[in-house]
Structures are given as C-alpha cells and as structure tokens.
C-alpha cells in the first residue's frame, strides 16, 4: 500500500467509501430492537455489526415477553447519520426482527444502566468512598473491612463519572449491564 501513499482504511481514494459524504458528524444513537427470542438471533445482530464494521458502544438483551417469545435488544451505536440509517435498515431486514426504534430521534426517552463497582481501600479513603457514594446515591451491597461493592443506577455518563472518581480511591472491579432504554410518555 505504501507505494501508493494511501493509508490503510483511508477512504478518500476508495470507491469502497460506502459512506455517502454528505455528513461527517459522528452521532451516538440508542436503538431498541424487538426480536423473536429464537436461537442465534443475538449472533445475527452482533454478526451484522462486526461483519459490516459498525460500532457497538453497549448492548443489552433480555426476554421481555415470555408468552410472545420476544426479546428486546438495546444497542448504543455511533456513526454518521447515513451509517446510522444503514444500521437501522440492516437490522430491519434480519428475518426475526420485528421492529427497530431509534430512541435518540423518536422523541424523549429514558436511559438507565446498572453498575456494580468494587472499591478496595482503607482509612480516610473508605470514608471518602462512602461520601461520594452518597452523592451519587449508590448503595452499598457488600462490604468487608477493606472493600465495598456499590450498586449504582443511572445514565452511562453518571456511571462513568462515579467510576472515574473512585479510581484514585481504589477502584478494583466494575461490572455494568449496558443500557436499557424506553421512550417517555404514554407509548
């Protein structure tokens, strides 16, 4: 490639520039995908993202309607508006997919994530950890003389902020569920 002075992945010269050039702004979108809860459906969705080179910032999945065998997959992804449109269209054509909703554009929505955060520290630092937890309304769900496990719910940003603050205090492990999201209002 070097002989041609083209950086790998550079798309200025490439007809494989499948991204129409009309907007370069990368946006983050939260998509809610309702799917038949059948074998392989998650692999199909993930395979679509890896196979076509899309990003996944967060992905959660769980059955939401046992009788109807429906699961809801919430995906936080990023891309230019055209890529986001492609992602939605590509998701929509997976056979077991019922609906694809873009919560970022379809009116206001609530997004929440749950995290369990272990902080290992002693002395003054333990007190500081508890003080911060209080501000963030994190619950202590386990404690030893040298550690806490906090449970925290909120937007991903809030969880990021909490984890960042805990880092110098003794953050040792983080488990996050990924984002669950719903549209606000009646339906």
């Amino acid at each position: 490639m070097n002989a041609l002075q083209i950086k790998k992945g550079a798309n200025k010269h490439s007809a494989y520039n499948l991204r129409p050039t009309f907007s370069d702004t990368v946006e983050q979108h939260t998509l809610a995908v309702l799917v038949d809860n059948e074998a392989g459906v998650l692999a199909r969705v993930i395979g679509l993202f890896s196979g076509r080179g899309y990003n996944i910032d967060s992905l959660t999945v769980a059955e939401v309607d046992r009788a109807g065998h429906l699961s809801r997959i919430t995906i936080v992804t990023r891309g230019t508006p055209q890529v986001i449109e492609q992602i939605k269209a590509q998701l929509g054509r997976i056979v077991p997919v019922h609906t694809v909703n873009d919560l970022t554009v379809e009116g206001p929505s609530v997004e929440r994530e749950l995290a369990l955060i272990k902080v290992t520290s002693e002395g003054e630092k333990r007190v500081e950890a508890l003080r911060l937890a209080d501000i963030f309304r994190a619950k202590v769900v386990d404690s030893t003389l040298s550690s806490f496990v906090f449970e925290l719910t909120g937007t991903p940003d809030k969880i990021d902020a909490f984890a960042d603050l805990m880092r110098p205090i003794g953050l040792s492990e983080v488990a996050r569920t990924g984002v669950a999201a719903l549209r606000r209002g009646e339906d």
Binding site: M1, I6, A15, L18, P20, F22, A43, G47, A89, V95
Partner: protein, 585 residues
C-alpha cells in the same frame, strides 16, 4: 390435517407440497434417512452432482431460469462447508434457494462428533436466514417457512440444518399456512406520494434515464412487462446492470446496453449526464458507480427497491420508494396516465440526439487482427447470430468471457441469462447450466466459459452425462486467466504473475473420456460450422474455442474513475489507472 410421519418423510412431503420437482444433492451419513425417502418416491427427481458447490449453483440456475426457488440437499460437515460458496453467491445475487443439510444427532452436537460442523454458525452470514431444527415436531413449519422467507421480499438463500435423530423421529406433519399469515411480509406497495413526486419529476425531465437491475427479474414477468410499457410510453432511454439483462429487450430501440465498468459508452455517458435517474431494482454496485463523488453529478435520483437497506447505502437518493418493482411500476404508469401522459418531448428528443452521437462511437467495435485467429468478440457474435432464434438460455463463468457475453449476446426476455455478478464465482456457470437444463429440458442451454473457470467445476461432466443433459460448454480458451492478465497489464507493469492457464487438458479428449462430444476450433473460417455442430449434437458438448490470447475487454471504466473517463480501446490504456484506483478491485 395432521399426519404422523418421520422427519425424513416430512422433508419429502414438504418439498412436494411446495411444488418442488427437482433437488440437486449429494448423500452422506447425516442425510441417509432423507435419501431413503427420496428412493421410495417418484414425484421429486434427485440430481446427483459431483460436488456440493455444484448442487448449489445448479439450484441457483434452476431458480434464476424459472422464477421458482431452487433446492439442494447436502450432508453434514464437508457437505455443508462445500455449500458455503454457493450460498454466498446466492445471497449477493438475491437468488431464492433452499438448502437442506444433515447434522449429527442433537445429543452429539458440540462434541466434535464425526463430520460435525457448526453449520448454522458458518452459514449465518451467507444466508438470508437459517435454522437448526431441534424437534421433529417443528420441522414441517420450518420447512414451509423456509420457502416463504427465501421467496418473499428480497429473495435469498436459506438453510435448514436437520440432525439425524430429528430425521428418524416421528411427529405430526402440518400443512403450509397461508403466505399472508406470516409476520415476515415486507411491504410491496410503494408510497403513493413518492411515486407521484417521481412522476412529476419525469414529466419535466429533459434527460431522464431508467437504470434497471436484477430486482426487475426478481419481481417476476409482470415487472418486465410493465417496464417495457413504461419505457415505450415515456420514450426514455434504458440501461441495465449485468443482473438485469433481458428485462427490457436488447432489440428495443430505447435500449442503451449494459452500463458499468465494462458497460457501453452510451449507457455510461447517459448515466453521467442525465438529469433524472430512475433506478429500478438495482443497488449502485461499485462496478456501476465508479468514483462515487463523480457519479452522475447533476441528476435527481429516484430508487425503487424492496430492501430499504439498498437505498441510500452508497448514493444519496432524492426520491426513495420502498416496494416491489411490479407494484411500483404499475402505480407509476397509472399515475402518469392519469396526469395526462406528459413528457418534455422536445427536450427528450434532444437528449436522444446526444445519445445517438455517443452510440455512433460504436464502442464495441474491435480490431479485426489476424484473419487466422478467432477474436473472442467474434466468436460471441457468431454464437449470437447462430443461436438467437433458438429457445436459448445462457450461463457464464467469471472473467473476460463473461463481460463479452454480456456485451455481444442479446437478451430479449428475463430469466434467460444466469451469471455470477455479486460474488463473481468462477465455477458457477457449468453447474448453473445443469440446473437450467433440468428446468428446461428441450431448450438450448449454453455456458459461455473461460478455460480456467470451467476447470473449477469440470467434474460436473459426470452429472451432465448421467442425466442426459445436453448442456453446451462454449469455452473461450485464451490459455490465460484473462481478466487477471488484463489487470496485470494495466496495473502491475505487465508482470503476469500466475495468470497463465498451463497444463490444460485436451478438451476434446476430456469430453470423450466422459462419453460426451468434444469440438475444437481455431480458425474463424471453421467457426460457424463448428457452432452448428455443437447446436445440433444431442448431448453435452465441450467446445474448445481457441481465441486470441491477449485480447483486452473494452470498454472499461478504470477503477476509481468517473463514468465519462471510459477507456475505449488499447490505445487509451497507458497510465489510465491512477494510484488511487490501484487499491480497488
């Protein structure tokens, strides 16, 4: 009505209920119960191929030439992995096929059992949908659903993986539900406001063009009929992709020929200069667009496609219309007529004057050269002249010969042209010709081949002989991987790395070894007689047509160039491909 039967019997029953008359396959341990059922019935004919890849391509050929889904049956493990190329081919070209694979018994899945492969895992990205059947009771509905999914919306390949114990066990067979009862039923009717907007644009357009593709063929015969009517009524020019040839007749006076990398000058120039592009069931492939930012820069673009993901994928579309081609064209015609059949006739007449100037360039002319050597273009011109009045079906392999076939053969009807476009699979054409001939026993089926591609599935001579399929293998033998050689000439300083077809067989003897007929021809003066001999022979023929070895395929839009930067012949090729284009394929 529910009936008790084994899973294996269900397979045969469901195929029968779905109207299947032909299955292409190859047996093995994991599908023996199904083969046992096939043995005990006469409604469905099984065609024993010599390699599973060929079963899939044959099913594709059958499907593309009939509009019905093709069916293939393969065993677990290597049988299934051999099917992968064909499945990918069918996915890229939107061909409806149903592949049934055997699997190790459910209780052995995951143990690295003999001939176990994760078939649904391997084929997930190369099928439209696939299923692993865990219970015999689920099998009938999965079988019916598979046919529905393969043929509904944008067609494509599906695979059902059936463990051996599921084939042996007994359960209730249930009939196919009504198609409308399925949740998976993508809308076929286009948005009326968008269609009206398109008609309004058409009425005032000075330089309209129809850019049509495989979606017109997928949509069925009505779509081709409506397209013809719309083109005739509006007087707008029409071009098509490789996949859409035959939807509009090549003899029609609005026909500009194929567009794209090896398309006709007039078609590409008209696409570049048009003011309204109406894309009907085509997908803006990179063979079409060339350089994206220079693609038809001044046109308003409308796109009719049943798959929303095709729209705005590559090119920004001003008027998107999601729907089935036939349904949308019908509405277009109705609305256009109701609004008074308006066109900007004067401007369109001027547009035709311009187009006729481009036509006068006569981009398909080639240098006659040595009168003792057959030019590949000439061979195809003669093949066209001598076969055009036959009930004729053409398949191709992949390479220069494929492009020349698209340029020099004329297709008057849909379903007559079977080629591997999206994946470009060498080895497709011969097995596809077998599938076509199975569907049209009395037709003249010709595979236009390159010698290198043809060797990739030459074992199918056995199949052709066993089933008495008189497929004609018309090999344009340049003793080169011609298309590769051409690119090496243009792009890699004429360093012909590994692009020679060496140690070729004697094709006449090879034919005779299988009990078929072999014909060799090297002199243009003998060509007509040799072609007639091929046509008149009642049985498979390998025609070894020795052609000019270093002919390049023109016209050509170099990779990374705009449509109006076409190369028309050898003289124009020096440094034609800029460094940016060199990374492209």
């Amino acid at each position: 009505m529910a009936r008790q039967m084994t899973g294996a019997k269900m397979v045969v029953q469901a195929l029968r209920d779905q109207g299947v008359d032909t299955v292409f396959g190859y047996p093995g341990g994991a599908v023996l119960p199904i083969y046992d059922e096939i043995f005990q019935q006469n409604d469905i004919q099984h065609i024993l191929v010599r390699h599973e890849q060929a079963a899939i391509h044959a099913a594709e050929g059958y499907a593309r030439s009939t509009g019905k889904p093709g069916v293939a049956l393969v065993t677990s493990g290597p049988g299934a992995t051999n099917a992968v190329t064909g499945l990918t081919d069918a996915l890229l070209d939107s061909i409806p096929i149903i592949v049934l694979s055997g699997q190790v018994p459910t209780f052995m899945i995951g143990t690295d059992a003999f001939q176990e492969a994760d078939t649904v895992g391997i084929t997930r990205p190369c099928t439209k949908h696939n299923w692993l059947v865990k219970e015999t009771s689920e099998l009938p509905q999965i079988l019916h659903r598979a046919f529905h999914v393969a043929t509904t919306g944008r067609p494509g390949p599906v695979l059902i993986d059936i463990p051996k114990d599921v084939q042996f066990a007994t359960a209730n067979y249930t009939d196919a539900p009504k198609k409308s009862s399925y949740r998976y039923n993508p809308p076929v009717k286009g948005d009326q406001d968008s269609i009206t907007a398109l008609i309004a644009a058409l009425e005032t357009s000075k330089k309209p063009i129809f850019y049509t593709g495989g979606g017109v063929i997928n949509s069925g015969p009505a779509a081709s009929q409506l397209l013809r009517e719309l083109v005739e009524a509006t007087g707008a020019p029409i071009t098509s992709t490789l996949m859409g040839l035959g939807a509009y007749p090549a003899s029609g006076d609005k026909w500009l020929g194929m567009l794209g990398m090896h398309g006709l000058y007039e078609a590409n120039m008209a696409m570049h200069d048009c003011d309204l592009m109406i894309c009907v069931g085509a997908r803006f492939d990179d063979r079409i667009t060339g350089r994206i930012d220079a693609f038809s820069p001044h046109s308003l673009k409308a796109h009719i496609d049943i798959d929303p993901s095709s729209i705005n994928k590559i090119i920004h579309i001003d008027i998107p219309i999601v729907g089935d081609v036939a349904h949308v064209l019908e509405d277009m015609l109705r609305i256009w007529k109701a609004r008074g059949r308006k066109m900007n006739r004067d401007a369109v007449a001027k547009w035709w004057t311009q187009i006729n100037e481009w036509r006068a360039v006569d981009c398909l002319k080639y240098k006659a050269g040595d009168s003792k050597i057959i030019k590949p273009q000439y061979a195809l011109q003669r093949l066209e002249a001598l076969t055009k009045d036959h009930d004729r079906y053409i398949t191709t392999e992949v390479g220069q010969h494929q492009m020349w076939a698209a340029q020099y053969l004329n297709f008057e009807d849909p379903h007559r042209w079977m080629t591997s476009g999206g994946l470009g699979t060498m080895g497709y054409g011969f097995p596809a010709s077998i599938g076509v001939q199975m569907a049209h026993r009395d037709a003249l089926v010709i595979n236009v081949a390159g010698e290198a591609s043809w060797l990739m599935n030459m074992q199918e001579m056995g199949t052709a002989m066993q089933f008495g399929l008189p497929v004609k293998q018309f090999i344009l033998n340049n003793e080169r991987l011609g298309m590769v050689r051409q690119w090496q000439e243009l792009l890699h300083g004429e360093r012909y790395s590994q692009s020679w077809s060496q140690a070729l067989p004697d094709f006449v003897k090879l034919a005779e070894a299988f009990g078929a007929k072999g014909i060799i021809c090297s002199d243009p003066a003998d060509l007509d007689d040799a072609i007639m001999e091929m046509i008149n022979y009642d049985g498979p023929v390998i025609f070894d047509c020795l052609v000019e070895k270093h002919e390049n395929c023109f016209p050509m839009i170099p990779s990374g160039a705009a449509h109006n930067k076409m190369l028309l012949g050898d003289a124009s090729t020096k440094d034609a491909i800029k460094e940016g284009g060199a990374v492209l394929v």
